[in-house]
Subunit: 466 residues, 2 copies
């Protein structure tokens, strides 16, 4: 047990609800809870078994605060590895505050953000990458990010790193041994095997590092700039893309739908749609500010959706094409999809001529009707083609955390140094230094190597109560 103090915090979302949970953890969790909890059957809470639930009242000086359920988790069989008591009370904000204040008066202290998980880590219940996955899991808002966080929390990533680390450690100790017998010039570590190991480690590290491109996109969503004039059908298109998901969401009360129009999940991958006004030439000062902003947003985006209305394109098609050429020349590497909406309003012949006109641009083009829901699947597939979800489907480890990515890059650099040293016949003592450094970076990921500042940075981003 590393901590003297018993901490308390609200574990459930803030606000009013049917039920709220107040969590106590630390060596005095049971004794503090017992001071204010009066069981309906007169049981002494502090004498009860782990993983049991007890009905009672929260009382102090004859005043009753609430009827609650107290759940007991005894050290080490708890989330933090310490004694934990969870009080499930009525979910009024007033009651939550009153009970927390009561527990503070009785010797608990307010938990810092992430302090429960920090204690879990320091008590060996989770490694550091698993602890980070807990925060990712809570923040996950789509299938893909949820799945990756879940895999990481269950130790998938840690196991992969731990395995590499162990093998490397094995060789490192043999090399260290050689140093002890330096004058005899022996080789305990088989150089051929060692080279093979380094190659394997390099291969795995490169795969993990490459996965960050996908992982980062999945974690943060793919930014898509929609360029299009007002009334071209942007929100109808977003609604059509959202179709099934929205129906599901509205089934469950309490879901906020305020921002849903800007963030869509397609096949489990998040897309963030950024609305822009278009970039037609103008002398108007206000409008030219608008054009500047459109360019900024295109720059931030990973994909550009150029949205037109079929009838309007028939009138001003050539102007639009000049406009798109401009964007294309400015951002030659940015994928652009031309979407012509409301195709149901023009004839098949007109559609054909429109397609021919657009072909000069040599860009991906999709004709659709957002209202009638035609062409929507094609657009979905186009958007998804920018994400390599193969790794996701194959259940491979995907790195989503910038900190892990940095450590992996540094570890790779050290491994490459070691391999270069091996190839060029570097002496064991110098090689040992590089190996140690690689081991250090592996350890950074899972938390074998750590320091207060690093932990501070990681857990400061957690919510209080986790």
């Amino acid at each position: 047990m590393l901590f003297k103090e018993t901490i308390v915090a609200l574990a459930t979302p803030s606000g009013a609800g049917a039920v709220a949970i107040i969590r106590l953890s630390g060596e005095n969790a049971l004794s503090i809870a017992s001071k204010v909890f009066k069981s309906v059957s007169n049981k002494d809470l502090s004498k009860q078994k782990t993983h049991t639930i007890h009905l009672g009242y929260i009382e102090e000086n004859g005043k009753t605060y609430d009827q609650v359920l107290a759940s007991i988790f005894r050290n080490p069989h708890s989330y933090t590895g310490e004694d934990v008591v969870e009080l499930s009370c009525h979910g009024s904000v007033f009651i939550q505050q009153q009970i927390i204040q009561l527990l503070l008066r009785n010797g608990a202290k307010m938990a810092q953000p992430g302090e429960f998980t920090l204690r879990a880590f320091l008590n060996g219940k989770l490694d550091l990458s698993q602890a980070e996955a807990v925060a990712d899991l809570i923040a996950s808002d789509n299938e893909a990010s949820h799945q990756i966080a879940m895999q990481q929390m269950r130790g998938g990533f840690s196991n992969e790193i731990a395995k590499l680390r162990e093998e490397l450690l094995n060789f490192a100790s043999l090399i260290e041994l050689e140093l002890d017998f330096a004058e005899e010039d022996v080789e305990f570590a088989d150089r051929t095997q060692f080279k093979q190991l380094l190659e394997r480690i390099e291969f795995v590290l490169k795969r993990l590092i490459d996965s960050f491109a996908v992982g980062n996109v999945i974690k943060n969503g793919i930014p898509v700039a929609i360029v299009g004039e007002p009334n071209v059908g942007k929100s109808t298109l977003l609604n059509a893309l959202l179709n099934e998901e929205r129906a599901i969401v509205s089934d469950i009360a309490g879901t906020t739908r305020d921002t849903i129009e800007d963030e869509l999940v397609i096949d489990g991958v998040g897309f963030r749609f950024i609305d822009t006004a278009g970039i037609r030439e103008t002398n108007d000062h206000v409008e030219s500010i608008g054009i500047q902003k459109t360019f900024e947003k295109i720059e931030q985006a990973q994909v550009v959706l150029y949205l037109f209305e079929s009838l309007k394109f028939q009138v001003s098609g050539s102007e639009y094409i000049v406009e798109i050429e401009k964007v294309k020349n400015k951002y030659p590497l940015k994928p652009i999809i031309i979407v012509v909406n409301k195709v149901d309003l023009i004839s098949v012949e007109e559609q054909l001529s429109l397609v021919q006109q657009l072909e000069t641009l040599n860009l991906k083009q999709i004709l659709l009707s957002a209202k009638q829901r035609t062409g929507i699947d094609e657009l979905k597939n186009q958007l998804l083609s920018f994400v390599n979800t193969g790794a996701l489907r194959n259940n491979e480890t995907i790195v989503t955390n910038t900190r892990h990515y940095d450590s992996l890059l540094k570890a790779l650099e050290e491994i490459q140094k070691v391999r270069f040293g091996l190839d060029s016949g570097l002496s064991s003592d110098l090689m040992a230094i590089d190996i140690k450094q690689a081991l250090y970076y592996f350890g950074e990921i899972t938390g074998e190597v750590t320091n207060d500042e690093l932990l501070g940075n990681i857990f400061a981003n957690f919510c209080i109560g986790k």
Copy 2:
């Protein structure tokens, strides 16, 4: 067991947090939970004892949704009186939705608002007035409303009603008996004792009915109109009144403070401050709309705080006094408190002359400095003087619910009819009808007498998950 279907809902507040609770209740709660819950120690969830907690994963078709704790409550030892399973999962909105959908796919149905508590009532775990207190408890945002709801939920009010009802029922059955022996003209029910009982019931009913004036104010807060020009120091004054409370609130993260400036709790009683602009004569059309609004707000308020600045009063005092006279004449019964702010800016002599000027109004007046926190306690006491908190301190039953109030009024009317009938020698059969009617209204409060429409109205106001 009255319900075939097993219901599910989120029990914790909506939004993201460390932990969320999903609650299942019904005869299939355990079997549905067992289908998707895989214990880490391979235990069969449906075979576990009541009031125990189990760690495991939510899984379906090889896909893991989350690591959760499952708490088991076996019929009748649960909130609803049915089998209940509570799944404590990671608090991401996405995970909450996924697990609820999974349970719906496995045979649960979405709970209606208040359906858990409705089942608790229909299964005899709570009477109707206690069930209503659950909603009040969750909505309570200050000491007084919390205390009343708590007392009501613990059955204080129900016991009082039940006792009266039982005594009345006793007499009613004796009177019914007399009807069976009508031809023999016997009196089983002692008329003197009966009269005493009726008087006692009338006394208690009147006390409960009177308590509604306090109860209603405590439940909804006392509306106070602050009349005052801009920059007269309204928010400084509210802050000064709030002083300690705010300091406590800010200690606990997650508390919304957006509306706190308009709602203050003083000594456990809620006050709602309604900001108004003042009512000086004007020819301006827009301003006269403002004056109209000020009058409307004064009308809604129970107390009017007239706020002035000392220096400005020295200049325009007589105008202000004309203005206040106007309000006073328009609302002769409305309590008005004159508050002169920033008294630290004028000399003691000037203060005295100001007081003398105001005395002509014959209203309560307070000189204070919101900034320097002088006179604040006097204002607090003045505001509190409008609430009879005696009943609250003496732990008497206070009626807060309009439905209860209506039933009590009707019961009183019937009791008075019975007493009148008794005095005027009404025949037993006619008296029996009035007694039955009184019993009916008592029963409405606690739910012995009920119907679907009444229950529908009551529970529709609950949140889902309660």
